[in-house]
Symmetry: C2
Subunit: 279 residues, 2 copies
Amino acid sequence: MKMFNKVVIFGTGLIGGSMGLALKRKHLAGQVIGLSQHKKNAELAKQMGAIDRVTSSLGAARDADLVILAAPVDSIMDIAPNLAKRLKRDCLVIDVASTKEKIVSRLSGLIPNFVGCHPLAGSEKKGIVNAQANIFIGSICVITPIASTKKSALNKIESLWRKLGTQVFLLPPARHDRVLAFTSHLPHAVAFSLMGTIPDKFLKISSTGLKDTTRISGSDQILWSEIFLSNRKNLLASISSFQTKLAALKLALENKDMQRLTKILSAARKKRERLLKVQ
Amino acid sequence: MKMFNKVVIFGTGLIGGSMGLALKRKHLAGQVIGLSQHKKNAELAKQMGAIDRVTSSLGAARDADLVILAAPVDSIMDIAPNLAKRLKRDCLVIDVASTKEKIVSRLSGLIPNFVGCHPLAGSEKKGIVNAQANIFIGSICVITPIASTKKSALNKIESLWRKLGTQVFLLPPARHDRVLAFTSHLPHAVAFSLMGTIPDKFLKISSTGLKDTTRISGSDQILWSEIFLSNRKNLLASISSFQTKLAALKLALENKDMQRLTKILSAARKKRERLLKVQ
């Protein structure tokens, strides 16, 4: 027996499409339906085998066992009330958004079996063309239950992410947003700013250092502006912390303080080693 | 006939060792001698086939056709006067240091056939254990001639770097240092500061974004403190530019200015595309 008889994926982009491909490869879903307003993308998702059929009608969710909300947050908020009315009682619903506090609070109020999820998969490349079944393998998924989250729903969703190959962490939504402000949103803000700083005519005299440090500045500007704004306070705090660290390095340099400089760089290098160990 | 009969490499670390391996693989040198005060590293370089024999005596440079200065800048400065006395008249000498203005000015005064070079190869990993013959292939080498640089020496060194597989750029030393402050030293300062900002307990909830953005913070703290100090004024200027860019992003976020934010991110994303095109 499949884990889910009928799965509806709202939004067949990079993450939605990859989930469709992964569910099918792992034989976890009977049928997968793409719910999309972007007919071209959804048709491509079908050609790629990420979904079995395409619809633009919410009615498709009526007998779904799992609904995956993988569209932009605004679109999810738009359809949520109408979607909630159509779901059968035990249908599980998850989202995959990068910030959790607001979306989990709103959707949990509308949908009894909602479980907030954030798979830390994907890259600076977006869209169904970059979808792959294996992007979740070896990656992390943070699940963000709240007091009202049903234990049975949480267990099944945890099991789903484990079957897709991710390492699962459970964090309260507010904690998730504070952590990700540092480990994901700040690096993006820094990478965008760094790329913005380099004069165009200098670009060709560069190496892998610049390339890797700015890779994520190739990310979509609308998606990331929305993520930044949705986690505004936490991100502002993390940017302030970073500014303090950079100012300390700059001061050591101004003072020609080799000892202080070496200490700052050494602490960072050691933390980098710890990062490689825990990842 | 080999391009060089006898090559002496002073400093058999990542770059010196890799040059030895590359010279041998391409059959560009009759014999390669490692001049080193670190016997253990030099012996390893010999075992790896990067050099034919090891010496700690400057006398080895007496009949060399090419001397490659790949040790830390302080050590190079220490031996330079004594080395200069021993060289035969047409011996070419290059360095591989990451900043050029000071070293090129000092060594050009001592050694008639000196040509300043900066191969943008290697990674955050240092030492002879990470040396490889192919690290120069597809990379960039900036050669930094000055008014007194002999045309014949410059031509031969240009030809050497091309044979090693690098794309060669010629820049005056001061210009090199200004450009590299932005394209290499600033990304390092930013990566060290970013890594220093992330709380330890958050590290495990992270993805490839943090990993790539901080890769170069795994670099050696002594080497990079020295590079930062040797290019202090230019680096301070590039850090200031970056601080202005980051402050603009932060302000847009404080003001919840989606339009401004999107514009900043989009400009960075487009510049990133240009970076991938020119590299």
